[in-house]
């Protein structure tokens, strides 16, 4: 059985207490594509990203309406198991946040959450995830070492590996390179391109070159609305909306 993991959003609204942060958003995100969210700070792109794995649940006073359908489940249904949702929808944060444990334990965290106990099985998942995140060769000799001893770029790739260890179908990335130097950024972008084969990736970025380099489709956000959503090349070479054009040409934002 081949379950589908595309994302369909209909009339999504998000409120932080009285603040209407996301206004009636609609979007269709296809499987195994990289979709970039761009827009000025505070436009709601990160908030929207967190709608897909319900991280906004943690924020007090946050209310979401509308439909968010991943594959065949409406993830805001009452009987949705959030743990299982977050297993399917992994997330990488802006600042690398490896746990203060060994590299191995970081990667094994999610499988252990889902009940994998056997050492051989865990070893296998750890190696596979680290290989997928192209960091295996750098860390294979120090799996028992503190993950916080790694460089920022390595930490971020470790966090990607950690997310992959849950074997998700969708990977959400919230400005994953904004805290990294250009070389580490390049490595992550390369990695994201490789991961596309197996995962649906949604990436929030402030870096428009990054969006053009890696994404298939781009959505431009402004003040809680999606102004334009199209193939990346169309957005950047031939934007339909004046506001998109102003933003990508650097006239504001």
């Amino acid at each position: 059985m081949n379950k589908k993991y595309d994302i369909t959003v209909r009339n999504c609204n998000l409120f932080y207490k009285d603040f209407h942060a996301l206004k009636n958003l609609n979007i269709d995100i296809a499987e195994n594509e990289i979709t970039a969210f761009i827009g000025p700070s505070g436009c709601g792109k990160s908030s929207f990203l967190k709608v897909f794995n319900r991280m906004n649940d943690l924020i007090e006073g946050c209310k979401i309406t509308g439909e968010v359908i991943i594959g065949d489940m409406n993830i805001y249904d009452k009987d949705i198991d959030i743990t299982m949702l977050r297993k399917e929808v992994g997330m990488v944060f802006q600042k690398p946040n490896p746990f203060p444990m060994s590299i191995y334990d970081n990667i094994a965290f999610a499988p252990r959450t889902f009940g994998v106990k056997k050492k051989s099985e865990l070893d296998e998942i750890v190696e596979k995830s680290l290989r997928r995140a192209s960091i295996w060769d750098e860390v294979k000799d120090r799996l028992k070492k503190d993950a916080l001893g790694m460089s920022g770029g390595q930490q971020q790739r470790l966090c990607i590996a950690r997310a992959l260890a849950a074997s998700p179908k969708i990977l959400l990335m919230d400005e994953p390179t904004s805290a990294l130097d250009p070389i580490s950024t390049g490595k992550i972008e390369e990695l994201v391109n490789e991961l596309k084969e197996n995962y649906t990736i949604v990436i929030v970025t402030h870096n428009m070159q990054q969006a053009t380099r890696i994404s298939d489709k781009t959505a431009f956000f402004l003040l809680g609305e999606i102004i334009e959503y199209d193939k990346t090349e169309n957005i950047f070479s031939n934007p339909k909306d004046k506001r998109t054009e102003n933003y990508i040409s650097g006239r504001f934002g």
Binding site: I82, G90, N97, P100, A110, T113, L148, C159, R162, A166
Partner: protein
């Protein structure tokens, strides 16, 4: 004109520096004087007989050592789980900015500042009199547990709050439940601080006397026969020996107490550092 002002400034800065330096010297010297005094007066009388001998014609502190051990065990076994549990609830399950929680925090701080003799009279009225424990190590231990509870809650809370939010987010994003997040991510990060504060709380228990005068009976010459028996503690022995004609033993016991508290503080520091190896102090 400009020059005179500048010179005045320089003089002022130098003066502040000297003043703060002088305060440091005075505080260190007074501490040093105390330690030297206790060592000179007490060291000649510290011997095997005093510490491990049976209480006879010469007073010994064996009953006090055992009593102190009882008090430490009772108070920490009671207050550690309750205190850590309360702190977990306050930081992980409530909105830390809400009004009620802020009131709870003020209340715990106030409780931590209450003079210990007030806890003592409470312990006396409740355990010794009302509950009919009579003078007992158990009543004293429970009273001490109540006394150190706010300390443990506050310091555990601070240690938990110091764990970056990004760790919790990372854990939740990987599908971990709240309980798993608390036990596998948050608590291990905070454990060195929590253990340190527990050990420092033990230090408080060992140094306490006011509570115990009113609750455990200060029976200096008999070995305690269990938790319900009356007893004594090292701090009480210092008071007893000092007041009832054994000044040498009082100084010697004070020295033992001093060394014990010093040792506990060193252990707290060492364990704190050891447990911190994975976070390497980067938290």
């Amino acid at each position: 004109m400009q020059n005179a002002k500048h010179k005045r400034q320089i003089f002022k800065y130098a003066l502040y520096k000297r003043l703060s330096q002088a305060s440091l010297v005075v505080s260190l010297l007074s501490l040093l004087a105390l330690v030297i005094f206790i060592v000179i007066r007490g060291l000649p009388y510290v011997n095997f007989q005093l510490i491990f001998g049976d209480y006879g014609a010469e007073p010994t502190i064996k009953p006090a050592l055992v009593g102190t051990l009882y008090l430490v065990l009772i108070s920490v076994l009671i207050s550690a789980p309750i205190g850590i549990g309360s702190a977990i609830f306050l930081t992980e399950y409530t909105n830390t900015k809400s009004k009620i929680i802020r009131w709870v925090r003020v209340a715990t701080e106030t409780l931590a500042g209450i003079p210990s003799i007030v806890y003592g009279i409470f312990g006396y009225l409740v355990f010794v009199v009302a509950l009919g424990f009579k003078y007992s190590l158990l009543g004293g231990g429970i009273t001490l547990a109540i006394m150190i509870l706010p300390l443990i809650v506050r310091s555990t809370e601070e240690n938990l709050l110091a764990v970056p939010k990004s760790f919790r987010e990372g854990s939740f994003a990987l599908g971990a439940s709240k309980v798993r997040t608390i036990f596998t991510v948050v608590l291990p990060c905070a454990v060195s601080g929590i253990v340190t504060s527990l050990i420092l709380a033990i230090g408080r228990v060992i140094s306490e006397s006011a509570v115990l005068i009113l609750t455990i009976g200060m029976v200096v010459d008999k070995m305690p026969q269990g938790v319900s028996s009356p007893g004594t503690s090292l701090a009480l022995d210092v008071y007893y020996f000092g007041s009832f004609g054994y000044p040498e033993q009082a100084s010697a016991t004070a020295l033992v107490l001093l060394i014990l508290v010093l040792a506990i503080n060193i252990i707290a520091t060492v364990i704190g550092k050891k447990l911190n190896k994975f976070s390497g102090g980067r938290l």
